[in-house]
């Protein structure tokens, strides 16, 4: 009887069995659990990978937690605080998720963020991130194992992935890199399963995870078009042998299969685009503009980028494209390591030339894993300074954005196993050994090279080493002072509402451990607690004010409090400056504030701002506070020429009303006396013209 392939395989196994005759493990207290674990690993490889990587994630979290690096990035604090504000705020609710970042990670922190300890240590974000890491590893294993039909390939991919120190760091940091990678690998896996099995429910699941990626990070928005394109190709090529057949009969097959393309396209596209559409609707409902997230002050990199598309020269465009490619490549090398990039390139070439897999299967993996790279490349191309690297820009900024390359580097590196299985056994084994060696050295060097800091490549090192935060002008600011401010608050805060602009001061609230129920920030837009109402007259509401010093160079985002009150003297009638380090100012309402308030409420208060002088004209802004002034008399006197007076009368100035006033000055005058008389309040100011900046006056 002719033996089948299966029988031959079986016989081979049996022979091996007899030869090996491994001694049977006796049942004992020690061997029992070992046997159980071994059996479990064999029978549940996916769960084994999940549990193992979860364990690695926990170890990593433990390491970084004790080093105090979990919230080293400024953004990590922001993410934690956004989640925290949903449950702990003067105006709690999902509207607190805002529109600066996509909301998936913040929502996933909610089950833990309510706990104070988990919040201020950052573990509330670490717990879900570690789980995402384990899921990403598991599906990385499943994808590669099923793609190459070999478990070893899957294990190699996971090995490569977890020996990248940056990956281990981002496996514990509450940032969106790891959840994004998880959604990418899940989408890719299920899309590949659809390609392999033709079952539409895999496509629906892939669509769901693509939608989730769209809710995680903006590069996720590039996924649906890439997937759709591959999906259409897949449907069109179904009964064709090669791509050339498809190209020859493209029009005909498109007409024939249009219904199917449409049906499957919708099945995939509807959940896949839900992330994008959902976000636009969210912006529309809450901010009245569907693209508010693009134009608001928080939109990523807007302040620090230049638009190359505006440049007209073709040569310039090509050069910029070259720079973009170079930047992305170098950034990937920084995040992942040069050897791995080279290995993945070898694996990629092998994947391209190997004949085991159909073109569409290859495309489904290559296209889907590399789309984020394409997106980032385009982003770098459009906004040149999106990623800043020392080699080209003499600094570090957002190199971490190149981290998703780790995924396809892991997938492509795993193809070496198949290389060994096929023709190039010797060559492949050597490559594999070198890869394992590099992986291990990468890991050990990453953790041992710097005795204090564990990372070799990412910009996190730079942040961590110097405890720096991101600044748009690439001058790095020292946040240690801010930690002093947090410490001051921790020791001295004794209750009362605090007014601040949360944008740059997220870390301060988290580190000072003050409940968000005491904070009034720009995220509070309720009827009772509205930031902009409070900002008008903070003394009525808040006991404390935290703001940047007006001369601080560390204001990355807009500080509304500084902008409004930074140069005002009125605020200091009610508040005492209790802390000032040149960057952060902390004000506390003084004991006389009530007394002062009652005085000024009766009398009113004037402030003169923006005094400028140009061509014998003096211009200033008069602001009236706290009460209505039915009549105001302004008198400008020249000290040198006493008879040169210039009076002005204004009627009905309400609270917060301001007016730009231009008055003539007699030639030869150097010192002016400006007196403003309200009905109850008088204000006088001496102005030295020579000390003023000469600017062209604005027309009134």
């Amino acid at each position: 009887m002719k033996k089948t392939k299966f029988m031959r395989g079986l016989e081979h196994k049996i022979k091996n069995l007899k030869l090996k005759k491994t001694p049977r493990l006796k049942d004992s207290l020690i061997t029992k659990p070992i046997i159980k674990i071994r059996n479990f690993i064999y029978s549940h490889p996916d769960w084994s990978v999940f549990l193992f990587t979860l364990f690695i994630g926990i170890l990593s979290a433990n390491y970084f937690y004790h080093k105090g690096l979990i919230t080293a990035y400024g953004d990590a604090s922001s993410h934690l605080n956004i989640a925290r504000r949903v449950v702990d705020s003067l105006t709690p609710g999902f509207a607190q998720l805002g529109n600066s970042w996509l909301p998936f990670i913040h929502v996933s922190y909610l089950p833990f963020i309510w706990n104070d300890f988990l919040w201020y240590t950052g573990l509330a974000g670490t717990i879900p991130t570690v789980i995402y890491f384990a899921i990403a590893c598991t599906f990385l294993y499943k994808l590669t194992a099923e793609f190459w039909n070999d478990r070893k390939a899957g294990l190699l991919a996971v090995f490569v992935f977890i020996t990248i120190p940056s990956v281990l760091y981002f496996a514990v940091v509450p940032m969106f890199e790891m959840p994004f990678m998880m959604t990418v690998i899940l989408s890719t896996y299920f899309f590949y399963k659809y390609i392999e099995t033709n079952k539409y429910h895999f496509l629906a699941i892939a669509g769901f995870f693509t939608g989730l990626a769209g809710f995680t990070w903006y590069p996720g928005w590039a996924m649906p078009p890439v997937f759709l394109l591959i999906l259409i190709l897949k449907i069109l090529i179904e009964d064709k042998k090669t791509f050339s057949d498809l190209i020859k009969n493209f029009k005909q097959s498109l007409v024939e299969k249009w219904d199917k393309v449409e049906g499957f396209g919708l099945i995939y596209a509807i959940p896949a685009f839900s992330g994008i559409v959902g976000w636009l609707i969210w912006n529309w409902i809450l901010w009245g503009n569907p693209i508010d997230f693009l134009i608001n002050e928080w939109s990523a990199g807007v302040g620090s980028t230049t638009n190359v598309l505006a440049s007209t020269s073709l040569l310039e465009l090509i050069l910029t494209m070259g720079i973009a490619i170079e930047k992305y490549f170098i950034a990937s090398c920084h995040m992942v390591g040069v050897p791995l990039v080279i290995y993945s390139l070898i694996g990629f070439i092998f994947l391209i030339i190997c004949k085991q897999k159909s073109t569409i299967e290859k495309l489904s993996v290559i296209g889907l894993l590399s789309f984020s790279a394409i997106f980032l490349f385009v982003l770098i191309f459009v906004t040149v300074k999106y990623i800043v690297i020392p080699e080209l820009d003499n600094g570090w900024f957002n190199v971490r954005y190149a981290l998703p390359t780790a995924l396809f580097i892991a997938v492509f590196s795993s193809s070496l196993i198949v290389l060994i299985k096929n023709k190039f056994k010797f060559f492949g084994t050597i490559l594999l050994c070198i890869l394992i060696f590099f992986g291990l050295t990468n890991l050990t060097q990453g953790f041992l090279q710097n005795d204090q800091y564990p990372l070799r490549y990412p910009d996190a090192l730079y942040y961590i080493k110097n405890r720096l935060i991101e600044c748009p002008d690439l001058k790095y600011c020292n946040p240690n002072k801010k930690n002093l401010a947090a410490e001051f608050l921790r020791n001295n805060y004794d209750g009362g509402k605090i007014l601040l602009t949360i944008g740059d001061l997220n870390y301060l609230i988290r580190e000072s451990r003050i409940s968000f129920k005491e904070i009034i920030c720009e995220a509070n837009k309720g009827e009772k607690w509205n930031f902009y109402d409070v900002l008008k007259a903070p003394w009525n509401y808040t006991g404390w004010i935290i703001m940047h010093h007006p001369s601080s160079k560390n204001i990355v985002h807009l500080d509304y409090v500084t902008l409004r009150w930074g140069n005002s003297t009125l605020l200091f009638k009610f508040y005492d400056k209790v802390y000032d380090d040149g960057d952060i100012m902390i004000l506390r309402r003084n004991n006389q504030s009530l007394e002062n308030l009652s005085i000024y409420l009766k009398k009113g208060y004037f402030e003169i701002e923006n005094i400028t002088y140009f061509e014998n004209k003096l211009q200033f802004r008069l602001v009236n506070y706290l009460t209505v002034q039915p009549k105001i008399d302004i008198l400008l006197k020249c000290k040198e020429i006493p008879e040169a007076e210039f009076p002005l009368h204004i009627e009905n100035m309400t609270n917060e009303d301001s007016m730009v006033i231009t008055m003539p000055v007699v030639q030869g005058c150097k010192n002016l006396n400006l007196s403003v008389k309200g009905r109850w309040y008088e204000y006088e100011k001496t102005i030295n013209i020579t000390a003023l900046n000469l600017k062209k006056l604005k027309t009134n």
Binding site: T4, F6, E11, K13, L25, S43, K199
Partner: protein
């Protein structure tokens, strides 16, 4: 003894299991068959049964009995057979044990078996060696096939808490007076009601219903009044909260059904299996076709029946016609049909409903099996044989198999497109899901294949219930029988006229309400008879169906009102713990339901309908309107049968060429006159305004 133990995959249903056993026993005829689990299969009487539920114990026992064991998780026996044969050949010369201990490993198994991997063998051997089974049982000679079945059902144990309820509301539990008489299929009664009146919708609300509502009312008072009295919570808020959680629950319930349906395959039979049937051994099959003023589609149904693959001498086709429908009667007589067609003229008595007609037909049935088709139906050619095969394969307790229904005029207009999308979701996703999860299946209106003896035992249809199919479906389960689904489709005509659609849908919803009332007359008894799971399934799939469209309407109106008026009273009804789940229901829930209808179309391979499914929310609005109509009609005309008109697709077909052009021209003419009228009206308005403005100017000048 050498042995092969088959563990059937956990999520196989009974008929699939029966099919697998059948395949195994036919493939390994020379071996004895050993089986674990309770007796289910009628076919294999020679099998010894051992009722061991614990999978680990069961496997050990299987291994004790068999020296050489192959325990495989079986889904598709065909894939396995080649490998098992190969293994068996090797068994003669090699001392090999192949085994699998844990049932949960089946994913691992199926994956590797299909891909021709054999690595699992070694692992299993080691496991078995460790257990030391070899040493204990060395001298078995004969090869046995062990079949381990996983018992799926357990009898419901009613908690003690309910026992006092039995004493207080005994009428909720104990049989009604009308149930004392045995069910007889006879023509004693004018209304042809064979079942006890308490199981009929003759009276919409009975004392039993009132008793149940009373209990429900007390519970509601406690639920709404308690928080209001103690915490001052507005009862409306609690009501809205309950509605939202009910909606969410039904969302997850249906999602669960669909997820289960994806892995479930209705009974499929290959062409070979159908060809293998010996026509001479086939029993007589009765086809009941109730007709009322449907002469237009008569030719279609006759040719569809003639086209059926069943020996014509064993067909018993009965047209059930009303006495006053002379048009159809004459049309049939003119057709000079073969002998196996029979005309039954129904007596002119109340109620004039389809189930009454069927009950009349039931008295004259000659066949062993029975199927009912509507006038506009076109069943697939091999449907009868598939149903016959299904009855042969599945256990005895299956009383009915339901063929899938779908529409042949799906592309007629938007309504038919949406209707088809809904039907596809219903029959291709929800019903298989119900089957997979072992919930009771409400039968579809036609293409229900019955065992005649069983349907007679059940007492036929309820002539007063306007969805007699749904009611019968529930009674089947209450009497301990089951329903299966076969992979065969009957093509029907979708209602293409809006008003007709609303009439039909309101009848269905009215019938669902009637059925719910009927089966809640003895709720505790229903619970006992169906079991908790099925009772729950009945409540959610039949009881909730009329409520959800109405709730949809109410909440959408509230949402629109909020966005347009920002009325604070609406805001007060939605505090955050209710607002967020409500928002989730509105956005995610509706999205999922729309998406499910898309999946239904893809499952049915109606790809061109996928985009139309996106308009499902509009369809739901119509459902809401139909539901309201149903509730109103239930009070006014509970037994009124709103007849669905058929044959529009045939009329549409005639409207080709010139006719269509004339229609377009007419429409264009109407549009033209409309535009002219609008222009005239505009001119008048313009002149009027000019005059007014002139007057005003004069006044200002003065």
């Amino acid at each position: 003894m050498n042995g092969i133990s088959f563990i059937i995959e956990k999520n196989l249903n009974e008929w699939e299991r029966a099919k697998v056993i059948d395949a195994i026993s036919s493939e390994f005829k020379k071996y004895e068959i050993f089986m674990f689990g309770r007796e289910r299969s009628k076919e294999n009487k020679s099998i010894k049964f051992l009722n061991i539920r614990n999978p680990r114990k069961r496997t050990r026992h299987a291994l004790k009995l068999c020296r050489y064991s192959i325990i495989c998780i079986v889904r598709n026996p065909k894939i396995l057979f080649s490998k098992i044969n190969a293994i068996l050949e090797l068994l003669d010369s090699n001392d090999l044990i192949i085994g699998e201990i844990e049932l949960e490993h089946h994913n691992f198994y199926t994956k590797h078996l299909t891909k021709q991997h054999i690595g699992f063998l070694l692992f299993s051997k080691k496991t078995l060696l460790k257990k030391g089974f070899l040493e204990n049982y060395p001298n078995f000679k004969n090869l046995k096939i062990g079949y381990a079945e996983i018992p799926l059902r357990e009898e419901l144990k009613i908690p003690k808490i309910f026992k006092p309820l039995n004493a207080i509301f005994s009428f909720l539990v104990y049989p009604h007076v009308s149930e004392k008489n045995e069910i007889k299929i006879s023509i004693d009664r004018d209304d042809y009601l064979y079942i006890p009146e308490i199981h009929s919708a003759k009276k919409t609300i009975t004392v039993e219903n009132l008793g149940f509502f009373f209990v429900l009312g007390i519970l509601c008072v406690a639920l709404f009044g308690g928080p209001w009295y103690f915490f001052g919570i507005n009862p409306l808020i609690i009501f809205i909260g309950l509605c939202i959680f009910f909606y969410l629950f039904s969302l997850f319930f249906k999602l669960d059904l669909v997820l289960n349906a994806l892995n479930y395959k209705p009974m499929r039979f290959s062409e070979e299996e159908i060809k293998r049937i010996d026509d001479s051994k086939l029993p007589t099959y009765t086809i009941l076709i109730p007709l009322y003023r449907e002469a237009e589609v008569l030719k279609q149904i006759v040719s569809a029946v003639q086209n059926l693959d069943w020996p014509k001498n064993k067909l018993d086709v009965k047209f059930l016609l009303e006495e006053d429908d002379s048009e159809t009667i004459n049309a049939i007589k003119k057709m000079r049909l073969p002998k196996y067609f029979e005309i039954i003229i129904l007596p002119n008595t109340y109620p004039k409903t389809k189930p009454k007609a069927l009950n009349v037909g039931l008295t004259k049935v000659r066949g062993k099996y029975l199927v009912l088709y509507d006038a506009e139906d076109i069943p697939e050619r091999d449907q009868l044989k598939k149903a016959y095969l299904a009855f042969k394969k599945i256990p005895e307790k299956y009383a009915c198999v339901q063929a899938k229904l779908n529409y042949y005029n799906k592309d007629q207009n938007i309504l038919t497109k949406l209707f088809t999308a809904e039907y596809s979701t219903w029959f291709d996703l929800y019903l298989p899901g119900l089957m997979a999860r072992n919930y009771p299946i409400p039968l579809g209106g036609t293409s229900n294949h019955f065992k005649v003896d069983v349907i007679k035992k059940l007492g036929g249809w309820d002539p007063y219930n306007v969805t007699e199919d749904c009611d019968l479906g529930m009674r089947i389960y209450r009497r301990g029988y089951d329903t299966g689904i076969i992979e065969s489709t009957t093509w029907e005509e979708a209602n293409s006229k809006l008003y007709g659609w609303i009439r039909q849908r309101s009848r269905w919803i009215k019938g669902y309400i009637q059925t719910t009332f009927v089966h809640l007359r003895h709720p505790i008894r229903s619970l006992r008879e169906l079991g908790f799971k099925k009772f729950f399934g009945f409540l959610f799939f039949v009881g909730a169906t009329p409520i959800i469209p109405v709730l949809n309407l109410v909440f959408w109106i509230l949402t629109i009102l909020w966005f347009t008026t920002k009325w604070l009273a609406i805001k007060a009804l939605f505090p955050p713990p209710i607002f967020y789940p409500g928002l989730f229901s509105l956005v995610v829930g509706n999205f999922i339901f729309v998406y499910l209808s898309l999946l239904g179309c893809v499952e049915r391979e109606f790809y061109n309908l996928v985009k139309w499914s996106l308009l499902s929310p509009l369809y739901w609005i119509l459902m809401g309107i139909a539901s309201i109509k149903a509730f109103i009609q239930l009070m006014k005309l509970p037994h009124f049968w709103e007849k669905t008109a058929h044959g529009f697709h045939l009329i549409e077909k005639k409207e080709t060429g010139l006719l269509r052009k004339i229609k377009i021209l007419k429409l264009a003419g109407l549009a033209k006159t409309g535009i002219l009228k609008l222009a005239k009206a505009y001119n008048r308005l313009d002149r009027y305004l000019e005059r007014k403005i002139a007057k005003l100017r004069k006044r200002f000048k003065k």
